[in-house]
Assembly symmetry: C2
Homo-oligomer: 284 residues x 2
């Protein structure tokens, strides 16, 4: 497995692989890998000849008050895990080369970045679309793999690909969960024992919503209220940033569940200092 | 010569040309071609195996009060001119395919787009960087040719390429001028006889500035004043939007000319309803 940190070296390797008609998949990560990331690499391998995993903790997608500095980093462990999955390249660029002096060019999805997560993290998706556009131009993939855990991120990257005509196909990988249903996240390490126990309510509330809908409750206001009540019962839950029930194709909030279209139920919950997100998609 | 309007057809042609190791150059235009554009195509031919000229009048780079609707269009004549230059492909996409419903992704150079032209055309460069990023992803060039006439556009596109890691080399083509020095522009057709006569003052003022500097005048305030006086003497000049003497590497305004670095002298002048721009670069 090659470990590359230079942008021009990565570009020329991808360029020559393309000339050899190799199909390239990229798996962008911020490192601190868990089973969710590893599942992305496995899916990448099924979809391409060459798998490039990238590791870069992107400061531009963190707000000043967020956890950029304390975000978990363990590059040696990450590289070992990626190697075990038989990826071909790990791309680990430096901060200085990704954001050189006088960097000033950003990619923004102006509407989708303002809802859901965007309301609570107003500059987050601008950081995401900018780094992903850069990584696309550097790794030159045919296919890119993203996890459904960050549902809005997937939506926005697909929008960016369509709007800016990136000739890249996105594969969305299902959420990988702990045995008790908690969605895997690099931020789960922040949780203490009590918080980790309470955190299961995040996914439980989504399952509860699905059950309510199956039982015929289509009023999203009632469903959200039931979820809220369930979540608030946990002692370490300090804030529910949002509970959203939206058209999965547009992210527009719904008043009533429409069973003939896909509905994204998503939420963000704070347990003391840790912010967790999760989602399910229901309907056809 | 191929005429292509479909984005996917253009992408797959460029993809297969790349697999054949053909070097691709793109010349992005808004049509209404003059000698300046044709010189870009000739330079493209010297730099690549395959030359793609694009024609697209990009609404996003015009403000609502600007001349998008009356901008000169003559696609048949343009195609004939491009064919005469032995380009290989003309790409003429539709408005609907370039900006589909719910388009929302923009590329912005946040600092460089606010000075010079950007002060008078606040959304202009956002439109330029967005369409150029799209055209890069559609035509997949190794080389792109832009004219020095739009000096700030060249600066901003080079900034975008560096910041977003487009693996594309820019060739900047010198300004092509009429016999009396007026820089060629698709907008010159707007000028009536008197305005066309007066318009020569735009380049004359740049030559005058260069002469003053050669004679030892390094104070940019004095140089700008002398230029202003010369330009204002013309009856049909209704407004001088700006006269700038800036560091060509940063676009920062200069108080004093520094002969050991490149200086961009640029200006925008309105003759009744027509807005003309021009520039020279002096120094090393």
């Amino acid at each position: 497995m090659k470990i590359i940190s230079s942008i021009s070296e990565m570009q020329s390797l991808s360029g020559s692989l393309r000339l050899k008609e190799k199909k390239i998949a990229v798996v962008p990560t911020m490192g601190s890998l868990h089973e969710g990331h590893l599942s992305l690499i496995r899916i990448a391998k099924q979809n391409a000849d060459i798998v490039i995993a990238t590791i870069f903790v992107n400061p531009v997608q963190f707000s000043p008050n967020e956890d950029f500095n304390k975000y978990p980093r363990n590059i040696e462990r990450d590289i070992a895990l990626i190697q075990k999955e038989n990826a071909d390249v790990v791309f680990t660029p430096s901060l200085e080369e990704i954001y050189p002096k006088n960097f000033e060019t950003y990619v923004t999805t102006e509407k989708s970045s303002t809802v859901l997560e965007g309301k609570f993290r107003p500059t987050h998706f601008k950081g995401v679309t900018t780094i992903v556009a850069k990584l696309f131009n550097i790794t030159k993939p045919h296919v890119a793999i993203f996890g459904q855990k960050d549902a809005q991120q997937v939506f926005i990257i697909q929008k960016m690909i369509r709007d800016l005509n990136f000739d890249i196909h996105i594969v969305v990988a299902p959420i990988v969960r702990e045995h008790d249903g908690l969605a895997m996240s690099s931020r789960n390490v922040y949780l203490n024992v009590q918080e980790r126990n309470d955190a299961t309510v995040v996914f439980q509330s989504l399952q509860y919503a699905e059950q309510l809908i199956t039982n015929g409750e289509f009023n999203t206001f009632s469903i959200k209220n039931a979820m809220k009540k369930m979540i608030s019962s946990k002692r370490t839950v300090t804030e529910i940033d949002y509970i959203s029930i939206a058209n999965a194709e547009t992210l527009d909030e719904l008043d009533m569940i429409l069973l003939n279209s896909k509905t994204l139920i998503s939420l963000a919950v704070r347990l003391e200092n840790t912010r967790l997100i999760d989602n399910i998609v229901i309907g056809n």
